[in-house]
Amino acid sequence: MTAGLFALARAGDRLADIVRLGLDREAERGYLQDIVSSVAVRLDTPFVIVDVLLNDAQILVADSGPVPDFIGEAGGTPLEWSFCLPLLAERAPRQVPDLTADPMFRDNPLVTLEGVRAYAGAPLLSHTGHVLGGLCGLDVRPRPFVPAELEFLREMAEEVVARLEEYAER
């Protein structure tokens, strides 16, 4: 499954869309901060991340909560660490209530070393139809997310993309 996801991540037209929006560049994106803050409140998660999936890494373009120093220093993680990776294929909100029980993520260093336990995310769908990355909430305790929370994530992910598109045109 991961190989197929990596192939999707490396599709040239998807990466060109990321370049079009300038998302591969390091930049302050304060205009996303109110969104990640509102997601943190609504989902009651200590971490909220807006991530963009490049060919081999995920980069964090906005976040809420204390990310580990080395991830802050790197500005992201290797692609295979990204809980949002399946969004490339599923293209819809998803959740993993207990990451330690998930075959794809149970050995992920963010789970085994950093203690992340639950995930809910929605895809960032560009107006050209590509999945750019995800908006996600992460918790350090196993927990399910209710459908209304996933719907909220979907709406906020749309707003993230609207702002990314708007600021890319400036």
């Binding site: 990466l15 370049v19 560049r25 081999d56 080395f70």
Partner: protein, 131 residues
């Protein structure tokens, strides 16, 4: 010598009118005879020459930024990618070439950013595991 068949040679003084050749005290283009101006010099000389840029002009611009070996190497690889023989003379083909170059540049930046994230994150993870 046919201009479009010139092979780029560093240090030949073939293309004297870039910003580096402008005397800083005057800010004017240096005086030059017509023999000093490269083919298709509308790209680089003052005035409004209607000559379209040639492959050599584009390569000169690239070489200003990247140096000759890199500029010529990337240009050569791009022409092969597109199945074009050098020198690329047709304007539409030159536009295809520079579009291709821009795309290659974008993807190099994406791949570079990815690789840097992986290197720094993995190094940080190792450090954090050791502590």
């Amino acid at each position: 010598m046919t201009p479009s068949n010139d092979q780029p040679q560093p240090g030949t003084g073939h293309r004297p009118t870039r910003t580096g050749d402008v005397p800083p005290e005057t800010g004017h283009e240096p005086a030059s005879s017509s023999n000093d101006i490269a083919p298709g010099a509308g790209l680089v000389a003052g005035g409004y020459d209607q000559q379209p840029p040639t492959e050599r002009d584009v390569l000169d611009s690239l070489a200003d930024l990247l140096g000759w070996p890199t500029a010529d190497g990337i240009w050569d690889l791009s022409s092969r990618d597109l199945g074009l023989r050098r020198p690329v003379e047709d304007s539409a083909d030159l536009i295809r070439m520079v579009d291709h170059l821009m795309n290659v540049g974008d993807m190099i930046r994406v791949a570079g950013r990815s690789a840097k994230v992986r290197l720094v994150a993995n190094e940080g993870l190792s450090r954090s595991v050791r502590q």
